[in-house]
Symmetry: C2
Subunit: 261 residues, 2 copies
């Protein structure tokens, strides 16, 4: 059996990781990883004539509902990475898009799968995918798209860490929605600095439920789960606004032998 | 009389403005403008062998104390700009650095002047500039460096807008300090969205007084001053932590005929 979407159009571009896209350890942030992946996918869409304006002229827009992110090694400050993107497959309601981020030697740094839906700009509801807005990607038409792992259902405990984040003007991107990569800044910032300096990201499962809006205050909750394996830790996250679930996330981390100074 | 620093080494590089470096109107943010200017200046330093590690090996680091930013037109999403930087002049305690940001046609988009000091990494106090850390820039040795405009001394009133901002893990950059370009996100976010959608930046005067640290909550205050000219407005800003002044800023804006939708 051929790989799903093997005939879909593959687009790739290079990106230099700047100092302001990195955290204090010089590792690119999770927000940056998604920002550059989405940038490549917007550039592919533009190159195929599927500009934001063209898509919006049909009264619709793409919204991501899930990411599954595998991280072999986070790109570092000043590294030039190659991002490849492919709109691999779609069925009437869901589109499946894959991203590969590689270093200068072609080694894989990250692999991201994602599920996208088409939303009506007037009703803000999910609509059937318009085939003319997918055809140029040469996506495979399928009955079922791959299921991405569901994040762990978040359960508050005595040790849950909770922090509020006010949605700022600059969290809204030119698509006029809160850049949902910014959720990662909130999610990860909720964890203590001592934890972040002693762990590397390994895998992230994200599921978006409801949109966050400008001016709202989101509440980010995090649990550091009891670890079953010596050098691995799982954290479970929830972002909500007024008790409405916006986003659930599970992150797997690798414990470093020593904290980064 | 020759222009100050005309013989100093000029470095330039290109940068594409990405969607995630822009606000919802598609204009680059003030934070982005400073981020890319500092990026070019770090690249110049690296090219001249004055890497962060090399500078730190002398037990010191550069710290900016003032910016004066002239904005003709903010770069826009997907625009490729050229940033030129020059370490124009220095005296025993202060270095004067200039930046030019231009569009593809060579038209000036922004011009930034700045004052930098050398800080001891152990005492966190200002020290005399080490000549060997400036010589490669071919900066002009001067008695007096140009004075940049002082921001208006901030005075709280009944209509002062005040918002708290928690300093996040991702506000710290690989130099291990709060990226002081992030102050602009706080400063500008303090103003109402309706104001930001109806004004373009014209000029910004910034003076840093005290460092902000991870985990602190800064308080950002803003006054929208009574306007004397029809299409111009001035705002006055203060960032403080526990009543200690961290940063004072004055911004001049141009009122747009209509708000950006």
């Amino acid at each position: 059996m051929a790989t799903l979407g093997a005939n879909a159009s593959l687009y790739s571009e290079q990106h230099r990781i700047t100092y302001y896209e990195c955290d204090r350890t010089g590792r690119a942030t999770l927000t940056t990883l998604i920002d550059i992946a989405v940038l490549a996918s917007e550039d592919q869409s533009d190159a195929l004539g599927l500009t934001t304006e063209m898509v919006q002229s049909h009264g619709v827009g793409w919204v991501v509902t899930q990411y599954a992110i595998d991280i072999t090694r986070m790109p570092r400050q000043d590294e030039v990475v190659t991002i490849a993107v492919r709109g691999s497959a779609y069925n009437p309601y869901f589109a499946y898009r894959e991203f590969w981020i590689r270093d200068a030697d072609g080694q894989q740094l990250a692999y991201i799968t994602s599920i996208w839906v088409m939303m009506s700009q007037t009703t803000r509801r999910i609509v059937k995918i318009l085939p003319e807005l997918v055809a140029p990607y040469q996506s495979e038409v399928v009955k079922r798209i791959p299921r991405l792992p569901r994040p762990i259902s978040f359960e508050a405990t005595d040790t849950t860490i909770t922090k509020p984040y006010h949605v700022r003007f600059f969290d809204i991107d030119p698509n006029r929605h809160v850049n949902n990569a910014h959720y990662f800044d909130w999610l990860v910032d909720t964890l203590p600095a001592t934890f972040l300096l002693q762990h590397d990201l390994v895998h992230v499962d994200v599921r978006y439920e409801n949109e966050v809006k400008y001016g709202q205050t989101v509440t980010a909750h995090a649990n550091i789960l009891p670890s079953e394996v010596a050098d691995q830790v799982t954290t479970s996250h929830l972002i909500e606004v007024d008790d409405e679930k916006c986003c659930e996330v599970t992150i797997q981390w690798r414990t470093l032998p020593e904290p980064i100074q």
